[in-house]
């Protein structure tokens, strides 16, 4: 089922920026604290974007009990085994990894739907991520919301973290907390999701700069609140599959930045309003 691309993965690994463990892939947890900020959408799109760059990517849905990554990728009908099957050795990793429809080098390890987060053995989870790092260049782990055991299990095998935040007070506060819990080990990087530039311009939404003045994290990317995301979710086809469009481009830019490319600073507040625009908007806000 899995192509024998172990050697290819190892070769590519030498190009990546993280050089400490030359032969292992990078395990990145995608987390946020707060639910509903777009962790799973981010994971699906970054997985897709990294795979489109030619990297071998494994996605782990660590949200046991609330499986969703499969449905965002349109793979729900192909999932026969899940994370807990592998951890409990009732299925092999090869049996449980589902190959993506669109990218041959993207694989999903789905969460168990009818099980609970507490059933995941933390040490086995660490070992599993380690095993995947030997076979894939990137292992992206979609963390559940919260800071309890599900979060800890999602984080245990990772060495890097991407935190997803929306420009809302609750999301920023939760990211602040998560970053505190992660500590320095994971070198967390920030994706600000669901930015609405028109509201930012009117002073009705925190701007990217506002959020990052508070969180002070390396900014990996900014994603606008894009109605097309809903359409792509309906269809199970991540927007990063598209070759053009601001949001697809933003995901591809993030993937490039993760891969160590020097990509221009992310922004969604595309054009600065003129003095008079700002004046009149200001008057009406």
């Amino acid at each position: 089922m899995l192509p024998q691309a172990h050697d290819v993965a190892a070769e590519r690994q030498t190009e990546t920026t993280i050089g400490e463990i030359a032969k292992l892939g990078r395990a990145v947890v995608i987390t946020s604290g707060k639910g509903g900020v777009g962790k799973t959408t981010t994971t699906a799109n970054l997985g897709t974007a990294l795979a489109q760059r030619g990297a071998r990517v494994a996605l782990i849905d660590a949200d046991v009990g609330l499986r969703n990554l499969d449905i965002l990728l349109g793979l729900e009908s192909r999932v026969h085994h899940h994370l807990l099957d592998v951890l409990e050795e009732t299925a092999t990793l090869d049996e449980a990894l589902v190959q993506d429809k669109h990218s041959d080098n993207l694989f999903l390890l789905a969460a168990a739907q009818a099980r609970e987060k507490d059933e995941v053995d933390t040490e086995k989870m660490r070992a599993l991520v380690g095993a995947l790092r030997e076979r894939f260049e990137y292992v992206l782990i979609d963390s559940p919301a919260g800071i309890e055991k599900g979060f800890k299990n999602a984080v245990v095998g990772a060495e890097e973290a991407i935190v997803v935040c929306t420009p809302e007070v609750s999301a920023v506060r939760d990211v602040d907390r998560i970053v505190g819990l992660l500590g320095n080990r994971f070198r967390p990087q920030l994706i600000i999701n669901r930015v609405r530039p028109e509201l930012v311009k009117k002073g009705k939404m925190l701007s990217v700069d506002d959020v990052n003045a508070i969180l002070r994290l390396p900014l990996l990317g900014v994603i606008a609140d894009e109605p097309q995301i809903i359409v792509t979710t309906n269809r199970g086809e991540p927007i990063a599959l598209r070759r053009e469009g601001a949001t697809a481009n933003a995901y591809h830019a993030i993937a490039a930045r993760i891969a160590g490319e020097d990509v221009p600073a992310p922004t969604v507040e595309l054009k600065k309003a003129t003095f008079f625009e700002r004046l009149f908007k200001g008057v009406r806000s």
């Binding site: 007070v169 002073g203 925190l206 701007s207 508070i214 004046l279 200001g282």
Partner: protein, 121 residues
Amino acid sequence: MIEFLRRIFAGSPPSADTAKERLRLVLMTDHLALGPEIVEAMKRDLVDVISRHVEVDREHIEVTFERQDRVLALLANVPILSVNRPSPPPSDGSPPTRPRRKRARRKAAAPSAPAEAAAGT
């Protein structure tokens, strides 16, 4: 300049500014993360210092944190039993001849405490 005009014409600040300010303060409080045992220890120390000069009601001291304008303030509410003779505190919590309580609401170490709290985040 824009801000100034906006204030004049709109009356209230844009909600993003409110969000920013609220976040700043709430994170300051979150980061302070003083456990109850630390607050208790602070209370004890405060009382020891104040007791050198006036007699205070140890049982009814309140130490709280409050947002004031742009800083986090520590507020200590220390009921003073007597201003005349510093003496060991009453062993019993409710002495029969309790003098009228002067509620002195004071900010502990007035200007420097908020500044330190702010710097600590």
